[in-house]
Symmetry: C2
Subunit: 245 residues, 2 copies
């Protein structure tokens, strides 16, 4: 992990861009942090970090200023300036085609779209975690949030350093990932948009039901995919504060 | 409304018992209240105020100490020392009989059990509200929470002084009340226990879906009817703080 830039943001937050091999990422740390601030991994949506920077940085600054958490994000495989791969482009084209035709999204399309992304992304996030936890001022425990729900399921199931996860309930979840959800045992906070145009409600409720965790909370709010209310940022932070402090 | 006793509780909260006609109730006010503290109506479960006092008083003291809210509760018709009536006893006996026999709970039983209680309770709570809002130190706006979900639906639908309601999703909801839910327009915060032995999950989700409110949030947690996590008290208080402050 190499730091490539550094700036101080309002509210005594230090923002550092880094690269992990070829992968760009950003780390936000509270300047007043104790020797071992908890760390939140904020997985971005697959739109490129440039496009979602202000949303991610807003959360990270809030977490730092209000709760003393450090936060980090990493560009997903195939997003932003990272190389795309032919199979992923094909899967996206297939999905677009059936959705525009009003045809059902088959398991084959979902698997082709999501599984290779999960298989590539999860080892990258785990490698980033190795380096992040070795930095001075970051001691864990670690929370995970955001991104594509299937990456979150795999991370929560396989990475023992993650103590709690805040996930956005989505559909387009491969059957294999749905089974992995049953293995998840850490506390979960799950957001659901009640009228999410791209995520059928029942599929999201079924996934919530499938998680093996004894402590899991679902927060459902009105509106579509982009309509998560502002107050849910604080609800998520309080969830992390209960489990990471 | 006549005050019958008064005591100071830890945390600078004044607790006063009162009677409204023949109906006993309790009012809790923060001693440091401004000229017009918001008021939370805490509807009790139908077990008698004596049995649920410590739970209600705990919430009221928290609301007063942390948020500066006043709170009030009122004994439900047929609960505690209030006179029972034959039709209610019969409806309860019918419900017990079919549940013990594993038979379906019919609409007739639900209507007989719930509708007369709603019809009696709602005018009492509205009358209490008249008197409570006339007291010095209580200025509204008013939040409503707790109790039997059907009373909450009717109160939220018909009482314009209630600005926000925090409800516990339940079943045994008469079809007429389900229709009234569509008329509710105020912000709602709805709690659901995912494995509530007495409240089928789908019925609770259907009721949440039916509410007409543009702003409604569902918080679902694991466990049975009595397993609502402690942190939901604060989540409810924050909901009220957003809408009553």
């Amino acid at each position: 992990m190499h730091f490539t830039s550094e700036q101080r943001l309002d509210g005594d937050v230090l923002e550092r861009e880094f690269t992990l091999g070829e992968i760009p990422g950003i780390l936000w740390t509270p300047e007043s942090a104790s020797a071992s601030a908890p760390l939140i991994l904020i997985c971005p949506p697959p739109l490129g970090l440039g496009k979602v920077y202000s949303r991610l940085a807003g959360r990270a600054r809030y977490y730092a200023a209000e709760y003393g958490f450090a936060s980090a994000t990493l560009e997903l495989p195939g997003s932003g300036d990272r190389p795309r791969w032919a199979a992923a482009d094909q899967a996206r084209a297939d999905l677009r085609r059936v959705m525009e035709a009003g045809e059902p999204v088959t398991d084959e399309i979902i698997d082709a779209l999501v599984l290779p992304l999960v298989d590539r992304a999860v080892p990258e996030w785990r490698a980033a975690l190795d380096d992040l936890l070795a930095l001075p001022g970051i001691g864990g425990p670690v929370g995970y949030e955001g991104g594509i729900i299937s990456i979150g399921v795999r991370m929560a199931a396989v990475e023992p350093r993650i103590a709690a996860a805040n996930l956005f309930a989505g559909s387009l979840v491969p059957a294999a990932i749905f089974e992995e959800a049953r293995q998840v045992a850490i506390p979960l906070h799950v957001l659901l948009q009640w009228d999410d145009e791209g995520n059928p409600r029942q599929a999201a409720l079924d996934l919530f039901d499938a998680f093996g965790s004894k402590e899991k909370t679902l927060h459902a709010n009105m509106g579509g995919h982009a309509g998560v209310p502002q107050y849910e940022i604080d609800a998520g932070a309080r969830f992390f504060a209960r489990h990471l402090s």
